[in-house]
């Protein structure tokens, strides 16, 4: 009897399933492949991923794929059930834009997220983009009501079938009347600077005795400390673009992207935007923005304060947007390397180094942009133009900027209202080589053609002197960029000195905040680089290291087992510091030794390298004398050092997912403590700058 009943139930279920399947195929609805801002309603306990400050602007966007044989007739966006915009497809194949809304039908990526993962943050599963797929956008949306909000995209196809996808975002309320606001915010960002990088610099610059540091780095003296989780939108290991952007948008960016959420179009400058801290505070308080870096200014960290793109490598457009959208960011100081993006492709400007041919320009139409009109409308952004022959330095000057090409002209610039400083073609020389150039001990800076480059503390001083003229305050980001770049190259002596140079800039920021207590300064990193660790110190003399390197035997027995002193054998390395603030030499007896947890193959001598490793970003890297430098750590010291097998592929060490330390000083410093997400920092900035702090 029971068996008969069971059989009957099975037949019923089968019939029901058949009808359901038939119904589904008769009325196939569109698929919403992506909903932006990303959220995670699949797990009711999950945090809403997207968070914004009150009135902070961002874009709503969805990618909709029609079922076979249909087209999308309309897409509507609603927040908390109230329609924000309804976009009607005009039936043509042309992209259409009306006011701050857009419907993109061409130029989509070959693949889009697979159905079923549309709302999750990391869409790892993709499908070929179906015909007639559209990307619909509402630009420059904002919400002033604190709390969690639902937003809904409703897609209707040509048969009238609809699909609704719902996400969520949070507007984070500030505590008003909390105290005095921070007028100025200074972000000191040591790129790739983990705890080991800080410790190494302290050991070298200050020394230890009887177990105690004999001095403190400037960043050590900051009273508040937090540990920061650095993950990006799509990986536990971030690159510098999200690593910086997450601090200043409050939201997770995808690797290689800055100031935007990911999308499904090929255009690198049309992604859904998120308003930067600089833009937000400029809009509501009239602040200025300063960006100072030792890198090429197009690099991810500096650009992730002012430029919105999904391609951190789009140098021409990135450099252009600094100026073209300076009305949005209040950009008033831009200093670093990167002149190659500012020189017209076909100009007759001569190379800085007469030995080089060409003018150093790497401007290209392929990395330039024109914004779609919905972005222009929603963000009051300038359109831009595809132009490899733009004289961008000239355009900056025409817009009222003073231009400094070297340290001397920077110091002579006085206090203009706006200051552009481009001190090399791409990344500036590192402090190791700049200081040796100033000491007359090396000609590396001459090889690059830029013998008069400023140090980071000098640039920071100049930047603050310009920015402090704004009575409404400023946001300043100062990056010690080559801590990361030299850690990638596992050139320990160079990155240790980069941290020392960076710390001297930190001291400048601290001095300003001490004199101007309405200033908040944080020292942090975007991520750790290299898995660097201080493994101990040399158990032998520098002379002996030289002797071994010059000898015939380069084995682990000779250069590792007999050299690397751990525990007691490490003792306390002692360095002599010159009056210029840098070690007299990195190669002291018993020098500190650095190991790497995410190392590529390399040869190790434990001695400093007279030449830096080649920098592929330099336009003349293929020409003498730069092409005489070691090409990568895999060949550097190959005739003098022992081989260290890497744990990762490639030629360079990689970033790690380790938490990094953050130090805070000044007004609002007490907001920082505990273990926090990098996006949390943005909301602490908001509280400090708007709601105030005691």
């Amino acid at each position: 009897m029971k068996q008969t009943q069971f059989t009957r139930h099975c037949i019923s279920a089968l019939v029901a399933a058949t009808f359901a399947t038939a119904a589904a195929s008769s009325f196939a609805a569109p698929t919403i492949a992506r909903l932006t801002p990303p959220s995670n309603p699949a797990n009711v306990n999950a945090n809403a991923l997207a968070r914004f400050l009150t009135s902070q602007k961002f874009d709503l966007q969805t990618t909709v794929a029609p079922s076979a044989g249909t087209t999308i007739s309309s897409v509507a966006f609603a927040v908390d059930g109230v329609v924000v915009a309804t976009i009607i497809n005009d039936g043509t194949t042309a992209n259409q834009f009306l006011g701050n809304t857009g419907l993109v039908k061409t130029g989509l990526n070959a693949k889009i997220p697979a159905a079923g993962v549309a709302n999750t943050a990391a869409n790892t599963s993709t499908v070929n983009t179906p015909a007639n797929t559209v990307v619909a956008s509402v630009r420059g949306y904002s919400n002033n009501t604190p709390g969690t909000h639902t937003f809904t995209a409703t897609a209707t196809d040509s048969t009238g079938a609809t699909t609704v996808q719902t996400g969520s975002f949070e507007v984070v309320g500030l505590t008003l009347n909390n105290g005095r606001p921070a007028k100025n915010i200074i972000v000191m960002l040591g790129d790739g600077m983990g705890a080991s990088h800080r410790t190494a610099a302290r050991i070298v610059a200050k020394g230890y005795a009887q177990g105690k540091a004999q001095g403190r780095l400037a960043m050590d003296t900051f009273p508040q400390t937090a540990m920061v989780m650095t993950s990006s939108l799509n990986s536990i290991v971030t690159d510098s673009a999200p690593g910086m952007a997450n601090y200043v948008t409050g939201n997770k960016a995808q690797n290689n992207q800055e100031g935007v959420f990911p999308d499904d179009t090929a255009d690198a400058f049309d992604n859904p935007r998120i308003e930067y801290l600089s833009e937000y505070l400029h809009r509501i308080k009239g602040t200025s923005l300063g960006i100072v870096t030792t890198a090429d200014v197009f690099d991810a960290t500096p650009a992730a304060n002012a430029v919105h793109t999904s391609n951190r490598g789009a140098g021409t457009g990135i450099a252009d947007q600094y100026l073209d959208d300076s009305n949005l960011t209040g950009l008033s100081v831009l200093m670093g390397g990167g002149r190659k993006w500012f020189i017209a492709k076909n100009s007759t400007v001569g190379a800085a180094n007469p030995a080089n041919t060409g003018n150093g320009s790497t401007r290209a139409t392929s990395s330039d942009y024109v914004l779609t009109s919905d972005i222009q409308s929603g963000w009051s952004a300038n359109a831009g133009a595809i132009n490899a022959n733009r004289d961008l330095i000239g355009d900056f000057q025409s817009a009222g900027w003073a231009y400094a090409s070297d340290k001397t002209s920077m110091l002579n610039a006085g206090t203009p209202s706006k200051l552009l400083g481009l001190f090399s073609y791409s990344n500036m020389n590192v402090s190791f080589d700049k200081i040796n150039g100033r000491r007359g001990a090396s000609t590396i800076v001459n090889d690059y053609g830029f013998p008069d480059q400023p140090m980071l503390d000098e640039m920071t001083d100049s930047a603050i002197n310009v920015l402090k003229q704004n009575p409404n305050g400023f946001v300043l980001m100062v990056e010690g960029a080559s801590i990361d770049k030299q850690a990638h190259l596992m050139d320990s002596d160079r990155w240790v000195q980069e941290v020392i140079e960076f710390d001297r800039a930190v001291q400048k920021a601290k001095d300003f905040a001490t004199a101007n207590p309405d200033t908040l300064v944080i020292v942090t990193a975007d991520h750790e680089c290299g898995g660097a660790a201080i493994i101990g110190a040399s158990a032998t003399t520098a002379a002996n290291l030289q002797s071994i390197a010059g000898g015939a035997t380069h084995t682990t027995a000779v250069q590792r087992d007999a050299v690397v002193g751990t525990y007691d054998a490490a003792k306390f390395p002692t360095y002599a510091m010159n009056a210029d603030g840098y070690p007299q030499t990195p190669d002291v007896d018993g020098k500190i030794l650095i190991g790497y947890g995410s190392n590529a193959d390399r040869y190790e001598t434990w001695l400093s390298s007279a030449q830096p490793t080649q920098d592929s970003q330099q336009p003349f890297v293929g020409q003498a004398p730069l092409n005489t430098y070691p090409t990568n750590p895999n060949v550097r010291n190959s005739t003098t050092g022992y081989f260290v097998t890497g744990q990762i592929s490639g030629d360079q060490a990689a970033h790690t997912a380790s938490d990094i330390p953050l130090s805070a000083y000044g007004r609002g410093a007490t907001l920082f403590g505990g273990v926090i997400d990098n996006t949390d920092v943005f909301f602490k900035f908001g509280q400090a700058a708007i709601g105030g702090v005691k």
Binding site: L176, N177, G179, R180, G691, G692
Partner: protein, 226 residues
């Protein structure tokens, strides 16, 4: 009879008058002295019972004198109050000199860019209207105006969205409470033509009923006497 009617009319007039009177008016245009002068200078602020201070939020104390905070050292809702910085020195400023446009009237405005303005009374106020004009810019976010008691506890709070406000926008807030010893205006802007007055009380329906009843009784008495 005539005498009685006159008396009745007088009483009625007095009652209506009392209901609509402006009990106190404090008015500031901040133009009595040069930019940079303290807002508490008598040339700016002639009212001895009013002081301009800079406010911050502080935790209430428990019975042992310790701050009432949660386990993360954050404020506990309902257990906070407003205090003033000991170094408060709110000033007037010519906003055109700080990239904030011209003053709404005269030369100066009250500089609240970097201070939550705490207008503190030495005596209790009741039923207050506050109004002021924002500067000639579009800067701003959310304005929160708190009315506080003698201990700095917030009696009531009024929030207004002033994001992208119009130039010189008029902001108003009211508190129909007694025992008001201070008003706090959130920071971020300069303010001009600040005025504090007593709410013009509109007689409620039962008040009108009583008035009419009184007049009716007087009319009845007069008629009987007549």
């Amino acid at each position: 009879m005539k005498n009685l009617l006159v008396k009745g009319a007088l009483v009625t007039a007095l009652m209506v008058s009392a209901a609509t009177a402006q009990a106190a008016v404090y008015s500031f245009n901040f133009d009595g002295a040069v930019s940079g002068t303290s807002a508490n200078d008598s040339s700016i602020n002639p009212y001895s019972n009013v002081t301009f201070l800079s406010a911050f939020t502080a935790a209430d104390k428990d019975a042992d004198g310790y701050d009432i905070l949660d386990m993360y050292d954050n404020f506990v809702p309902g257990f906070t109050h407003i205090e003033a910085y000991s170094d408060s020195d709110i000033k007037v400023v010519d906003p055109s000199t700080i990239a904030r446009g011209d003053a709404i009237s005269g030369a100066n405005s009250l500089d609240g860019r970097n201070d939550s303005i705490y207008i503190k009374f030495s005596d209790a106020q009741s039923n207050l209207n506050l109004s002021f004009q924002l500067e000639n810019t579009h800067f701003g976010l959310i304005s929160q105006i708190d009315f506080v008691d003698a201990s700095g506890k917030v009696i009531n709070s009024v929030s207004q969205d002033i994001m992208g406000h119009s130039f010189g926008q008029l902001i108003t807030a009211s508190s129909a409470n007694a025992g008001i010893y201070g008003i706090v205006i959130s920071s971020g802007s300069t303010f001009d033509n600040l005025s504090i007055s007593t709410i013009a009380a509109v007689p409620e329906s039962d008040t009108y009923a009583m008035l009419l009843a009184g007049l009716g009784i007087m009319g009845l008495v007069a008629r009987r006497r007549g």
